[in-house]
Symmetry: none
Subunit: 231 residues, 2 copies
Amino acid sequence: MEKVKVLLVEDDPNLGSLLKEYLEAKGFSTVLATNGKQGYDVFSKDKFNICILDVMMPIKDGFTLAKEIRAIDANVPVVFLTAKSMKEDTIEGFNAGADDYITKPFSMEELLVRIKAILRRTDNKPSLQSEQSEFKIGNYKFDYKHQTLEIKGTQQKLTTKEADLLKLLCLNANDILDRNFALKSIWHDDNYFSGRSMDVYIAKLRKYLKEDSSVELINVHGKGFKLLTGK
Amino acid sequence: MEKVKVLLVEDDPNLGSLLKEYLEAKGFSTVLATNGKQGYDVFSKDKFNICILDVMMPIKDGFTLAKEIRAIDANVPVVFLTAKSMKEDTIEGFNAGADDYITKPFSMEELLVRIKAILRRTDNKPSLQSEQSEFKIGNYKFDYKHQTLEIKGTQQKLTTKEADLLKLLCLNANDILDRNFALKSIWHDDNYFSGRSMDVYIAKLRKYLKEDSSVELINVHGKGFKLLTGK
DNA sequence: AAGGTGACTTAACATAATTTAACACATGTG
DNA sequence: CACATGTGTTAAATTATGTTAAGTCACCTT
């Protein structure tokens, strides 16, 4: 079971580190940013399951940050923290796409249960994938939906991960598939072990694909992989 | 787009009818029950998209009602309304599976935006409560209401669980049916044994469905199952 | 109350999917 | 070219699923 990743953006360093410690103790992997700009930078480079944003922050406020975050990932849940308790702000927060809006002071336990309530509704994500399901790779025919790879009448059944990875490669055929991008897409994580796991799958795909010598699955050192399709 | 159906259970008749009117003005179809027992009766006879329950009610309190409702539909969102603001109650509410917990007094507008926030996350999930009863699966004809599966004139009688599971698969045809979602929907539980039980039913369905080779019931490792219906 | 039946669950064992470990080799850097 | 780091590959370990059969329970029959 992979850890849930939380992006916490809070300009009060005391509260921020307190919450971070608490959430980590509860089993969440938490990244703390202390202002909106930093929060955006962190989010744009990594993948998170939920964002907890302080509303009032210098440089960039929580609402603005939320919009930018949603521009990157329209589905990530966002929770606002705020000292304001005026109705208009609550409404504005929800209109900015909030999943919850918590007024300070709050108990950490309440924050926790509210986070859990939101995650209950989002963890089984519909994973909206691109529609395309059939690909040609040299003389191979790859059917993502049916998870099959066919050549000269021989059909190879693929596992879910094999199919996911091959699909990403096809969508970037003859172009580089970024390593971390692939890891985040398929493994939802880019740690060392996920990376090694992906390498194992690359090796498996190479085996499947060696019937057509014009097809190559090459590595671009430090960057990712490239599927070279025949001619 | 059908109207969203709201079950509102509130023993204060003034507040109850006020909220009902407000929600209906906002485009929701709302049924008001004035006590827990009545709320249960209404829910068991109809399908709702969300339940808003007062916690403190005579006869049957909101938490108890929520548990009974969840036994019928483990996925329906529940929001608690309460005058209590003690932390323990909030926590208890969320542990009872609450999606939100709103403390009186609250503005109706805030209730509205909180409802919308929850519905954003639950909208498009086909559920067992769906009215649809007849499905085509490749060359098969599946009648949920009569619990029959027919092909080439041969009719197979299905048990309740077989039919429930097949219906969920049909509602998600060619798309993934999340394992835990299915378990909660049909078994009202997602422990190890329920999971194994479901696997047994998957095996049974596969047997029934092997008359049409274009129909496949495949596993998506760690996620769920996918019913591939021949184009 | 004994026996039977059907639906569902649990057990048991088999196989598959994925991750982790282990070791070999490659690449780029100073 | 010595080193750190990244990748290739195979195999073992772990976890998830496939499948069949045995067990349980509610209900029906006599």
